[in-house]
């Protein structure tokens, strides 16, 4: 705290130059402005994505070329391998998808899209990011302690995770757990803020059904998160006690029950999928309406299906545990609920496809990303049926089929959704346009290589490849003809995918500095963030807007143009 105060004080000294001109440190590191906090989350998320990307590079190289010395990493030992997959999973979900989709977008967009000047609790907001940053630091620190980083998978099942005698990471495991718990605290604080802000600070005239879908989605996601994470925070503390002070909550030799952790984990873990899915779905709704110049098909249906998905998501968790030793009768119940959740999700996808009907579609970079989300997520959705139905899950559980399935949901969510959001709101965020040509090069390179990574993994999973294995040469049935070739193909495609991300980073930072200056409303969109200047100043709007209509009145017959901003009074139409 003392250094932070000193930094704030340092920033303060610059204020002498002008009353509103804050110092660099104060403006970018100690700000309560929701936009800056959004950027902090976004850039931290992007940095953590580099770690997540590097770990997958190292362990995929080991899978394709067992025993090789991986350039930039060295030989991957069994211990390294477990740490790498654990880090990859935890980082990509907790430190990339969550901060970018919920925290960065929520912070940046909510006040702008509902037409207010800031979050209702700006200092809680700042605290939320600081705790999040601390959690990232703790996680990174865990790589460098004695024994190395935790290697018990991102699900951290005890007794393996509970005892250093089993996992051989006496310091890495508790640090990992502390980092995850801190991260939950950060998002709880953020979620409180989002919900309160939307309930209280909407612009005059903005009724609940005038709120843009992406804002709704972030709110529903925040509620899901808050309602599901409690048991896991309690579980995390219990597990931490098991690790450090010798309790036995999850240790059967001392009367505990390891399966209890699985229930606590997945009671959070499955809603968590929808916590990140819904904001990405919201981003897609904003973008496809703007670039097809169409009203969103059945706004209320989208909203109700999202709520339905959220409610159902609390009743499906044990489909992760069909063969985990739970009462087999439970599998029947959870099969039913799991397959039922396909109904609202399928409806949402059909609503989006229907929105395209009769549109005037322009394939800009953000639109390409949004459409790719729909196309790729469909694959993730339908392959989930194989795993949700108990009978076939006996075979597919913990194979690469599962890995391919959830990457077809999480990659569209965490990356395609984020790229869609970043390319779409970049002009508003930074007042500059991103380069379209390089944006499209990045898009096609990413999408094609993505499919070449994960389609082979479906086949490997169908042939019996099980997860978290660092060297398949020990398994004769998994070294049959063609299988190693598929592993090599997936790894090569991964390297291509990673290489294409360099284009994104260069385009991002080059455009940030030298991009063409963006107009106030370059995409001719309706929602309120486009009423503010690009980029919006502290306080967002010169005068707070008044809302007259819903967010998706594109190509309305009574409107003069093919868009009709929410704040435009009816008389001028």
């Amino acid at each position: 705290m003392s250094t932070a105060t000193a930094e704030a004080g340092h920033g303060h000294s610059h204020d002498a130059h002008g009353h509103h001109d804050e110092g660099f440190i104060k403006k970018y590191f100690w700000s309560t402005d929701h936009k800056i906090i959004g950027f902090q989350y976004m850039f931290t998320g992007m940095f953590m994505a580099l770690i997540g990307g590097f770990t997958v590079y190292a362990f995929r190289m080991q899978l394709a070329f067992p025993g090789m010395s991986v350039p930039g990493f060295g030989r991957v030992t069994a211990h390294d391998y477990n740490s790498l997959v654990t880090t990859h999973g935890s980082v990509m979900i907790f430190w990339v998808a969550m901060p970018v989709l919920i925290a960065a977008l929520g912070n940046y967009l909510i006040p702008l899209m509902i037409g207010c000047d800031d979050m209702v609790f700006p200092r809680i907001n700042r605290l939320s990011y600081q705790i999040f940053l601390l959690s990232a630091v703790v996680l990174i620190a865990s790589f460098f302690v004695e024994g190395g980083a935790f290697g018990g998978a991102w699900t951290a099942y005890p007794p393996l995770s509970a005892s250093a005698a089993y996992n051989l990471t006496p310091k890495g495991a508790p640090l990992w757990l502390i980092a995850v718990a801190l991260e939950f605290v950060a998002f709880l604080l953020g979620g409180i803020n989002f919900i309160t802000t939307v309930m209280n600070s909407r612009a005059p005239g903005m009724k609940m059904f005038d709120v843009p879908i992406v804002v709704w989605m972030i709110i529903i996601a925040s509620i899901l998160f808050m309602a599901s994470v409690g048991p896991l925070v309690a579980g995390a503390v219990m597990l931490l006690f098991d690790q450090t002070v010798g309790t036995g909550f999850f240790d059967p030799s001392r009367g505990g029950d390891p399966v209890l952790w699985q229930h606590l984990f997945w009671f959070f873990g499955h809603p968590e999928v929808y916590v990140v899915l819904l904001p990405a779905m919201g981003v897609v709704a904003e973008i496809i309406t703007v670039f097809s110049r169409k009203k969103l098909f059945a706004y209320k249906t989208v909203l109700y299906t999202a709520i339905g998905t959220g409610v159902l998501s609390f009743f499906v968790w044990a489909h992760h545990q069909f063969v985990a030793g739970i009462d087999p009768r439970m599998a029947n119940i959870f099969s039913v609920t799991t397959l039922l959740i396909s109904i609202p999700v399928a409806e949402m996808v059909f609503v989006y496809i229907a929105t395209l009907y009769g549109g005037s579609i322009r394939l800009t970079t953000p639109m390409l990303w949004a459409l790719a989300f729909i196309g790729e997520f469909l694959i993730g959705g339908v392959t989930g049926i194989f795993l949700g139905s108990s009978g076939s899950d006996i075979y597919f559980h913990d194979t690469y089929f599962v890995i391919a399935h959830f990457h077809y949901t999480f990659f569209p969510i965490a990356f395609i959704g984020s790229f869609a959001a970043i390319t779409y709101w970049f002009p508003k965020m930074f007042g500059k346009m991103m380069n379209e040509t390089w944006g499209k090069v990045h898009f096609w390179g990413t999408i094609v290589s993505f499919n070449f990574i994960f389609i082979p993994l479906f086949f490997l999973g169908a042939r019996g490849d099980h997860r978290r294995i660092y060297d398949y040469t020990h398994f004769p049935d998994l070294m049959r003809s063609g299988m190693q070739e598929l592993r090599v193909l997936a790894t090569l495609a991964l390297i291509v995918l990673l290489a294409f991300q360099v284009i994104f980073l260069v385009n991002f930072f080059y455009s940030l500095v030298k991009g063409k200056k963006a107009e106030q409303n370059p995409w001719k969109a309706n929602t309120l963030e486009w009423v503010a200047a690009s980029p919006p100043p502290h306080g967002n709007f010169p005068e707070l807007p008044t809302v007259y209509r819903g967010p998706y009145e594109y190509s309305h017959p009574e409107a003069r143009d093919d868009y009709w901003p929410q704040n435009q009074p009816p008389a001028t139409a």
């Binding site: 099942y157 059967p252 063969v323 030793g325 399928a346 059909f350 496809i353 009978g391 006996i394 019996g464």
Partner: protein
């Protein structure tokens, strides 16, 4: 579909493969239909100079069919798949057909111990045959297994049987299988269990009656010469379960 990649070496392997085929066909149809509409709309409704997009709210009854039809279709096919899935599940996990023999599988970091009942076909007797990383069974005989773990979670998976079951320390989990082919197949540990998880390979060797009898004869401990072994359930049981 799976049978093209991997032999069906147990009685229920074909049931599971057929379920997978059923799901592939039903969701495959809807997947292709959705993708067809999706790409069709993108191609058909590209922006044209001077042509305005249609204004469709999707709120009236006729338009809502876009949502209600997929709704009922998904529900219908969900029910179909659920019925098929539960039937398979009942067969594999919830019923225990009469056993010809019982084996005990004891898992630990990072090895498998298989306890075969020996010539008297009873576990926990002096003639039990213990092997490491090699399970010997006879073709066309129904086996019950008792799965135990000494330390952390593991999972007993035989892809050729389409069988998978996690092992939990402190519990004995029972299940069954009936091999239908002779030969050797992989046994995998499919639950991460520490550094050696990746090398926890074992083999199930399925023999015909004569070969299996010969193996039992050759490997059974000479009962008279050996003091009775400690009961094989010397796994730390710890918990109340």
């Amino acid at each position: 579909m799976i049978e093209h990649y991997l032999e069906q070496a147990s009685t229920f392997a074909a049931d599971i493969d057929n379920l997978i085929l059923l799901i592939t066909v039903t969701v495959g149809f809807w997947f292709l239909l959705a993708q067809f509409l999706f790409f069709g709309f993108i191609l058909k409704f590209r922006a044209q100079e001077g042509k305005k997009a249609q204004y469709i709210s999707g709120e009236n009854k006729k338009e809502k069919r876009w949502v209600s039809l997929p709704h009922y279709a998904t529900l219908f096919f969900d029910v179909l798949i659920i019925i098929a899935a539960i039937r398979v599940w009942q067969d594999v996990k919830m019923t225990m057909p009469q056993a010809d023999s019982t084996v005990r599988i004891v898992v630990q970091q990072w090895a498998w111990t298989f306890v075969h009942p020996g010539p008297d076909n009873k576990l926990d007797t002096a003639d039990d045959i213990r092997t490491v990383d090699e399970l010997h069974v006879e073709k066309d005989k129904t086996y019950h297994f008792e799965l135990q773990s000494r330390d952390v979670l593991h999972s007993f998976s035989v892809p050729a049987f389409r069988l998978k079951q996690d092992a939990i320390p402190g519990r004995t989990i029972k299940g069954w299988f009936k091999p239908t082919l002779t030969g050797g197949f992989d046994i995998q540990c499919t639950e991460i269990c520490g550094i050696g998880h990746g090398i926890m390979a074992a083999r199930v060797l399925i023999e015909n009656a004569a070969d299996h009898a010969a193996w039992v004869k050759a490997n059974a401990p000479q009962v008279a010469a050996v003091t009775p072994t400690a009961p094989a359930d010397n796994v730390p049981t710890g918990g109340s379960r």
